[in-house]
Structures are given as structure tokens and as C-alpha cells.
Symmetry: none
Subunit: 155 residues, 2 copies
DNA sequence: ATAATATTAGTCAACATTAGTCAAGAACAC
DNA sequence: GTGTTCTTGACTAATGTTGACTAATATTAT
């Protein structure tokens, strides 16, 4: 809580706005200036914290009157939603991205907290650690997809 | 009390904080410096003295604003049972035997039916299939143990 | 219309800042 | 003496920060 990095602070700022409105629209340079960082750091924050796996869609426009708009995605019905997650997982997935997938399932109501925690236990680095990172990412993807397919039948 | 090595001293320091708050968050380099040891010794202390068997869960983040967070968790009263299953799983486990483990958990009331089904989805042969049977059995074992360790405490 | 210029955002790679792993040797317990 | 635990540091990995360069869009000049 003490030594937060600036990316976390910007993330919190944006999510705070998103907690009350469906979307937030910013001018990149303005936010960068407000938090005293270079403009490209805003891209970094968005790329690492507002992905589709996190449940956000980002649109932007360059040129005069340009903007970056972050929209909190409305969850589709479960089946389409699971399809989109299966696609997002693909044939390999990083640990970081897999956390987003599980969080999205939880927030969509597809799983409860206990189930989410079990899935996290199944894909964390204690569980999957062959020494070959790419192999790990492939195994993690297969496990997630197997679970996603299971959830499809349940729902 | 006399012959305390530096690892014991660091352990005491952290547990003293944990006696009053639920968790402690440190910067590794800072603590290492404070006790005049190399940073990796902090990892050693954590790995040997703040395990899940001891009732601690550790999380960390690298990079700017990085931290190590140690959280004291409430252990459940099924520890001996979990221990026996961890032993039974060992370094590797067949798919058949892994089903027995999950069934035991379910029958003991440690997990409900949905949770059991998720675990089964995570360890079935769609999920874990590297082409090398022994490798699969090892991965399956690690996943199960990670889940078993998760089931030791309230979360 | 077209071209030039201004105004935005995007990409990428270098660098910075943290923690993790591992294996060798030292210290300790028996 | 032997086996275990502790200590150390070189190397690795993950994450965050910065700025130069690029691309897209809008506005202005012709």
C-alpha cells in the first residue's frame, strides 16, 4: 500500500471513474501531464490493466480532438462470453493474463469465489512449472480451456 | 535465544509484526539492508519459515514498487487429512489415482460437487497431455498438491 | 481538391527497478 | 566425519519508466 508505482495509481484513478460511469474518455497527453509521466506510459497502463480479458474495450482516435476511451464491457450471455475467453486464451497464455481470465469469470458470475481460488491454485506457478516457460504457458492454456469447456456444459 | 542465526532473527522480526497485524509487506532489498544480509536470504527465510504448513501465504511483485507480502491465514481443521493426500499424491500420480483423491476430498466435505468437477476438468486428459506420460503424471501431481495446499486455509 | 502543417495517439526498444532461482561454500549439529 | 542448515552472490525474470520515432486524423493554406 505504501510504495505504489505510478502505473498502479493511474490504474486506480481510471477504475475509480469506471466504477461510477460505464466508460471513461481521456486525452492521453492530459492524463500524462496530470500524473507527471510520459504519454506512452498511459499506453502501458492500458495495455497491462485494461485488456479484454479484464473486461474492458479500448477505442482511440488520433489527431485533433483525439481521445482514448475505455469502456467496461457488458457481459454477454455465458456461452458467448466463454467462447470469447476460449479465444482469448488460445494455445498458450501467460500467468498474468490467466489471472485476468479467472477474474473475468468471477465477475461474470460464471464461478464463485471458492471456485475461482481453486482454479488459481491449479494454474499458479507452484502448480505449473516444468522449467520451460513456453511449455508452461501451453499447459496453462489447456487447463483453462478444459475448465472453460466444463463451465459451458454446466451453464 | 542465545545462538540465534540471522535467519532466525529476521523470522522473529517478521513474526513480531504479524502478531499484531494480519499481514506484513516488505521491500526485499530494504529488509536485507536492515539486517545486513544479501537479498536472497530474505527468500530463504520465507521459504523455510513462512510456508503454508506454518499458516502463511506469500505474494510478491517485481519491478518498480515491488514488494513481498506475507499474510497469516486461518488454517482449517482438516490438516492431517490434507497431509495424507499430499503424501499419497507424491511426485507423480496417475489419472486413475487422481480421481480417488478428488473423490476423497468430496466425500470428506472439503469440496462440493462443483468444485470437484472443476478440479477434474483441470486434471483430465484434455487438460494435461504433453505426449509424455510421466511428465503428465508429474504435472498432475503438482496441480493437485497446489490445490490441496490451497484447501488448508480459509480464503 | 490538394498539399502542408498541426495535433493528437501508437509502437518499440533501451534502461531502471524490483524479486526469484540456484548452486557453491561455510557453519553447525551430531 | 557426515549430513543438514545457513549464507552468499552470480545470474535470471518480471514489471515499470522513458523517449525517439511512427502513424493517423484534423485543420489550414493554396
Amino acid at each position: 500500500m505504501e510504495n505504489q508505482n505510478i502505473s498502479d495509481i493511474i490504474e486506480s484513478y481510471l477504475k475509480q471513474i469506471l466504477a461510477e460511469s460505464q466508460q471513461v474518455e481521456i486525452r492521453r497527453a492530459e492524463i500524462a501531464n496530470q500524473f507527471n509521466v510520459v504519454p506512452s506510459q498511459i499506453n502501458y497502463v492500458i495495455k497491462t490493466r485494461f485488456t479484454i480479458q479484464d473486461g474492458y474495450v479500448v477505442q482511440s482516435k488520433r489527431g485533433g480532438g483525439g481521445y482514448i476511451r475505455i469502456e467496461k464491457v457488458k457481459l454477454l450471455d455465458n456461452l458467448d462470453f466463454i467462447d470469447s475467453l476460449v479465444t482469448a486464451v488460445g494455445d498458450q497464455i501467460t500467468r498474468h493474463d490467466s489471472l485476468s481470465v479467472v477474474r473475468s469469470l468471477f465477475e461474470a458470475g460464471a464461478i464463485n469465489r471458492s471456485e475461482a481460488n481453486i482454479i488459481l491454485a491449479a494454474i499458479n506457478k507452484d502448480a505449473i512449472n516444468t522449467g520451460d516457460r513456453q511449455a508452461d504457458e501451453q499447459i496453462r492454456a489447456q487447463i483453462l480451456i478444459s475448465i472453460l469447456n466444463h463451465l459451458r456444459y454446466e451453464s
